[in-house]
C-alpha cells in the first residue's frame, strides 16, 4: 500500500469513518434485535439507534447549573477520539490515511482519552450519580487497561511490530499464526476487555433503570439532546471499532490489501459480516448470563490480565 497516493488513502479513511458512524449504531441495533428475539419479542428494527440519534440531534441542549466547560467538551472529545481511531485503524483495508502511524498503543490510549473525558464529565455535573458512575468506570478501567495493553503487546511481539496494519499484514502472510496458543489466549483476554470497555452484561447493564446498578449510564445521566447523541454515537463507534479490531487482528481474511474499488467493497462486506457475527455472539452471551456484582467484576478482569500475561509468556517460550 506504500505506492498508493495520499488522496486515495484519505478516501479510504473517509469510507471507514462513514462505515463507523453508520455501522456502530447498526451493531447496537443488531444486538438489541438478537436480545429481543431471544426473549420472544419482535423487537425494534435494526436501524432504530440511527433514528434515535437523528431525533436527539434536534432536541434542546441543557447544561447542569453547576457544570463548567468540561461538560459540553467531553462529548466532542469522545467523538473525536472514536472518529480518529476509526479513520486510521485498519478496518476495511491495510492502508488508510495515516496508516503508517497507526500504532496499536495509539488506539489504546485514544480509547482511554475518551473514557477519561466521559468520567470527568460525570464528575462535572455535581451530582451523586455522576460521581458514582465515574468512580466505578475508572475502577473497572484501571483493571481493563492492563489486560488490553498486555494483550496488544502479545500480538506485537508475535508480529514483530506494534504497527496495526503491520500486525494484520503479518497474520495474512502467516496464516498458521492465527491458531497459535498465544493468539488464542490473547483473544480470550481481549474479549473480556471488550465486555468491560463497552459496558455489556456481565460487567454492566446498559439498559438498567436502577442508578445503584449503573456504571456507564450514570456518567451520562445529565446529558440531553445533541450532546447525548454525540456521546451515544461515540460509544457505538467505540463498540464498532473494538469489534472490528477483534475481527481484523485475529481473522483478517477479507481485508483489502490494495486500493482497488472491488477490494475495498469486499473489505467492507467482510468487515460487516465479521462484526455482525461477533455482535450476535456477544448478544447471546449477554442474554444467557446475569450481570456480575460490582465487586466480582475485578475478578474477571484480573483473569483477563493473567491470560494476557500468559499469552506473552507463551509467545516468548514457543518461537
Amino acid at each position: 500500500m506504500s505506492a498508493v497516493s495520499p488522496l486515495v488513502s484519505a478516501g479510504v479513511s473517509v469510507i471507514q469513518l462513514g462505515a463507523a458512524v453508520t455501522g456502530g449504531p447498526l451493531l447496537y441495533g443488531l444486538m438489541a434485535k438478537v436480545r429481543a428475539r431471544a426473549e420472544g419479542r419482535a423487537g425494534a428494527p435494526v436501524r432504530q439507534p440511527l433514528l434515535d440519534l437523528w431525533k436527539l440531534a434536534g432536541k434542546e441542549r441543557i447544561h447542569a447549573e453547576h457544570s463548567s466547560a468540561v461538560l459540553p467538551l467531553a462529548p466532542l472529545v469522545v467523538i473525536a477520539t472514536a472518529a480518529t481511531a476509526a479513520a486510521i485503524a485498519p478496518l476495511i483495508s491495510t492502508g488508510p490515511a495515516l496508516g503508517r502511524t497507526c500504532d496499536a498503543f495509539v488506539i489504546v490510549f485514544l480509547l482511554l482519552l475518551g473514557s477519561v473525558a466521559v468520567a470527568l464529565a460525570g464528575l462535572d455535573t455535581g451530582t451523586a450519580f455522576g460521581g458514582m458512575g465515574a468512580s466505578r468506570a475508572m475502577t473497572i478501567g484501571a483493571l481493563a487497561e492492563p489486560a488490553l495493553l498486555v494483550a496488544v503487546l502479545a500480538l506485537s511481539i508475535q508480529a514483530g511490530t506494534s504497527n496495526l496494519p503491520g500486525i494484520v499484514s503479518s497474520t495474512l502472510a502467516h496464516p498458521a499464526w492465527a491458531v497459535t496458543p498465544e493468539r488464542l489466549l490473547a483473544l480470550v483476554a481481549l474479549v473480556i476487555v471488550v465486555f468491560a470497555e463497552t459496558g455489556r452484561i456481565p460487567v454492566d447493564n446498559p439498559s438498567t433503570h436502577l442508578e445503584l446498578t449503573m456504571i456507564h449510564e450514570a456518567m451520562i445521566l445529565e446529558y440531553a439532546g445533541p450532546e447525548l447523541g454525540l456521546v451515544t454515537l461515540g460509544e457505538t463507534m467505540r463498540l464498532g471499532l473494538l469489534l472490528s479490531l477483534l475481527a481484523n487482528l485475529f481473522f483478517p481474511w477479507g481485508i483489502a490489501t490494495t486500493a482497488s474499488p472491488l477490494g475495498l467493497l469486499l473489505g467492507l462486506a467482510a468487515l460487516a459480516g465479521k462484526t455482525a457475527a461477533i455482535a450476535v455472539a456477544i448478544s447471546i452471551v449477554e442474554v444467557s448470563t446475569a450481570k456480575l456484582r460490582l465487586f466480582r467484576v475485578p475478578e474477571i478482569l484480573s483473569a483477563g490480565f493473567v491470560l494476557a500475561v500468559l499469552a506473552v509468556i507463551t509467545g516468548l517460550v514457543m518461537p
Binding site: A36, G40, R41, A42, A44, L51, L210, E222, A224
Partner: protein, 165 residues
C-alpha cells in the same frame, strides 16, 4: 459444566430463529409521522401515587406479547434522555413538586402522556386527602390513555400515535 451451559443455549438459539410471540396490532388512527419525533420516542415513567395496576399493564405493553419497543418507543432512566414523561397515578401532594421537576428536566420538544383514569382525573382515588389540589401539568396531557387500568394493547397503540409507526 460446559455441556450444561451448551444445553441451556439450545432453546435460546432455537428461539432466535422461531416466530416471536408478539401480536400483530392494526395501525391506530391519527396522522402518519406521529408527533414529529421521527419514529423514536423515549419516555420517563413517573409513578405519581398509583396503585401499581397501570405499572403492571405498562410492563406488559413492553413485554413480548405487545412489545411497544418494535414501534420505536422505549422507557429510559433519566428525563434528560427522554422526550416526555409517562405519568400514572393521581398526583399526590408529595409527588406534585417532583413531577414538576421531572417534566422540567425533559428537553424540548416534550410531551406528557397520562396513563390510566387516575392520571386523567377520573379515578377512584380522586378527591382524597393526600391528593394534590391541582393536577399541574397533567391537566392538559398530550396523549391520554383512559382505563382502570388501560390494557397493554391500548397503551401500545397510544404510544404508536407518538412514534407514528
Amino acid at each position: 459444566m460446559v455441556t450444561l451451559r451448551f444445553m441451556q443455549l439450545l432453546p435460546l438459539l432455537r428461539s432466535l430463529f422461531s416466530r416471536p410471540v408478539t401480536e400483530r396490532l392494526p395501525r391506530p388512527p391519527g396522522p402518519r409521522g406521529g408527533a414529529g419525533f421521527g419514529g423514536s420516542v423515549q419516555l420517563r415513567h413517573v409513578d405519581a401515587g398509583s396503585c401499581n395496576g397501570c405499572e403492571l399493564e405498562i410492563a406488559s405493553a413492553f413485554g413480548p406479547v405487545y412489545d411497544a419497543g418494535r414501534f420505536g418507543a422505549r422507557l429510559v432512566a433519566s428525563p434528560r434522555h427522554a422526550d416526555g414523561v409517562l405519568v400514572t397515578g393521581v398526583v399526590t401532594r408529595n409527588m406534585a413538586v417532583p413531577l414538576g421537576k421531572t417534566l422540567d428536566a425533559v428537553p424540548e420538544p416534550r410531551v406528557i402522556v397520562a396513563c390510566g383514569d387516575c392520571a386523567l382525573g377520573r379515578g377512584p382515588f380522586g378527591g382524597g386527602y393526600g391528593v394534590a389540589s391541582s393536577q399541574g401539568p397533567l391537566a392538559a396531557p398530550d396523549v391520554a390513555i383512559p382505563g382502570c387500568p388501560p390494557g397493554p394493547a391500548a397503551i401500545t397503540q397510544a404510544l404508536r400515535t407518538l412514534t407514528g409507526r
